[in-house]
Amino acid sequence: MSDSAALAGTQPDQRPSFGERIRRFYSRSEAMRGYTLLSPTLLVMATMLCIPFGIMVLMSFWTQSGFDISTTFSLDNYVSVAEKPIFQALLIRSLIISGFCAVATVLISYPMAYYVAFHVHRRKLLWIILMTLPFWTSYLLRVFAWKVILGFNGVLNTGLMSVGLIEQPLEFLIYSPTAVVITLAHAWAAFAILPIYVSLEKIDRSLLEAAADLGDGPVRSFFRVTLPLSLPGVIAAMLLIFIPTVGDYVTPALVGGPDGLMMANLIQAMFGKMNNWPLGSALAVSMMIIVTLIALVYVWITRKLVGRIA
């Protein structure tokens, strides 16, 4: 009785050290517990990414002859990717269109994100939802809407003609790289606004006050404080638009015309009408490698630049 009472009396004093020991034991195996919990997600994602990509890379070294696929290792596909001018032309065009699109989208979205981050004080949430809402509606129908606007008898041409600004419909509006850039810029705007907004919102406002106190005008403090500090958001936005749009298939197919077709349309053709899966795989792999290289070089350069400014 007295023993157990003594035990009960001493236990609260010992508990912290005991609990600490348990905590230490758990923190040592924390990594294991974390990985156990993470394993289903990681396993599904890793297998769904690695195995298909592995097989695609493997297939890119096979060759198609008629209806048969020869599984002997060959570099033929890559040789033709490197040598045939049409492949290079399409790849370069895809990169240029997506690059233009990323730059244009970031340029037009920055002031918008800036406005909401710095000049909207109430109802920020409403503005953010308003800016991202169109992004969640049917992608196909948004692209189609641009076809209606930019078309030969489209809204823009009939509008400009009725005002008297032009006499003939502008033909370059639709079925051109311009149409692809405009449509993509509209479709991917949310990917520019959100990262830029987040990076602007993170900026410590006292830095701007300090700049103002030290005599910087609004323009100077923007270029010396706000812009450099928001560059991570700009970099993220550029990548989030550039990389997926290089592989876009729908927009070029609907509004691109023959001059606006991109890499994805060619890859699709290889898996469809042309029925040359190995060559299609080689095209896909080449595109991935080139886009990854560009992204890495871009990140490396911008990191250096940001480092120099900061």
């Binding site: 924390e30 990594a31 517990r33 974390g34 919990l37 993470l38 289903p40 997600t41 990681l42 599904v44 994602m45 890793a46 769904m48 990414l49 298909p52 990509f53 097989i55 695609m56 297939m59 037009i108 979205s109 002031p111 800036y114 406005y115 000049h119 004080h121 949430l125 939802i129 308003l130 800016m131 991202t132 969640w136 509606t137 049917s138 992608y139 196909l140 129908l141 948004r142 809407a145 641009w146 209606v148 606007i149 009939t158 509209h186 609004p218 989030l240 990389i243 997926p244 592989g247 876009d248 298939y249 729908v250 609907l254 994805a264 890859i267 795989s281 896909a284 595109m287 991935m288 992204a295």
Partner: protein, 272 residues
């Protein structure tokens, strides 16, 4: 913050720009409902007259209903599976210090920066090689791959947003891990779970390229719409459908964003 608006004029200039920007975002989208009530076959200005016949036509289009139902099935399974995987992943990376956490998160987030067509083609090759027939099941697998990063991002924000001492308190009171999850963690992250479900459903419902490669003969709604875009006489009823999708997805997304951001904006732990 003491001088939030000391630039005066630039603010008004920016406000004007913001309105132009919103017009750029919304005008193309609003053409859909506008032309869906237009009494003409061709989608051009000037508008002819008001009609609801395209909506009536839509109600009798069996193929459209089949495609719609397919998309709903795929979207429902995708959102549940992706969100479940997202919950595991988000809880693991926000609750435990895991060595190599950053690369692990990068792997899960990878589909965000891989062109969809490449993932679609790679999965197509895999499924064909192992002899898996292309059905709605294969589309669902592809959509899960795309949706998990979105689910993770949504749920990580939510898991980081509340006080983990609540879980610790439950643990101190003797609850086991499973109980803690159901009785403490899950109610707290529930708005995030709902937001993730809705977002994944919306993404899957709208996804075209992956489905285009993996659907075989079973059409999802975007594939059906894409097929219709080539036929001018079918366009108006597609616009009517588009207008309906627009209204529904506006509500769904508005609700989910509101849920998620409202939850995150709260002071930690005040969710009970």
């Amino acid at each position: 913050m003491s001088r939030p608006n000391n630039f005066g004029n630039p603010s008004r200039l920016l406000a004007g720009y913001a309105i132009l920007y919103l017009a750029f975002l919304y005008i193309p989208v609003l053409f859909l409902p506008l032309f869906s009530f237009n009494d003409a076959l061709h989608v051009t200005f000037p508008l002819k007259g008001f009609t609801t016949k395209w909506y009536e036509q839509m109600f009798y289009d069996e193929k459209m209903h089949q495609a719609l139902w397919n998309s709903i099935k795929v979207g429902a399974v995708t959102s549940v599976v992706a969100t479940t995987l997202g919950i595991f992943g988000a809880k693991a990376v926000t609750r435990f210090r895991i060595p190599g956490q950053k690369p692990v998160i990068s792997v899960i987030m990878l589909p965000l920066v891989i062109p969809v067509i490449i993932m679609g083609v790679a999965l197509l090759i895999l499924f064909t090689r192992i002899g898996l027939p292309l059905t709605l099941f294969t589309v669902t697998l592809g959509h899960i791959l795309i949706c998990v990063p979105f689910a993770m991002a949504t749920l990580m924000a939510r898991f980081e947003g509340f006080d983990r001492s609540m879980e610790e308190a439950a643990a101190d009171l003797g609850d086991n891990a499973w109980h803690i999850f159901w009785r403490v963690t899950f109610p707290l992250v529930f708005p995030g779970v709902l937001a993730s479900l809705l977002l994944c459903f919306t993404i899957s419902f709208d996804e075209f390229i992956m489905a285009f490669f993996l659907a075989g003969t079973e059409q999802t709604l975007p594939i059906f719409i894409y097929g219709q875009l080539r036929f001018p006489q079918r366009l108006p009823s597609v616009l009517a459908l588009g207008a309906c999708i627009l209204v529904v997805s506006f509500f769904v997304v508005f609700f989910s964003q509101w849920l998620q951001r409202r939850g995150n904006a709260k002071p930690t732990g005040a969710g009970i």
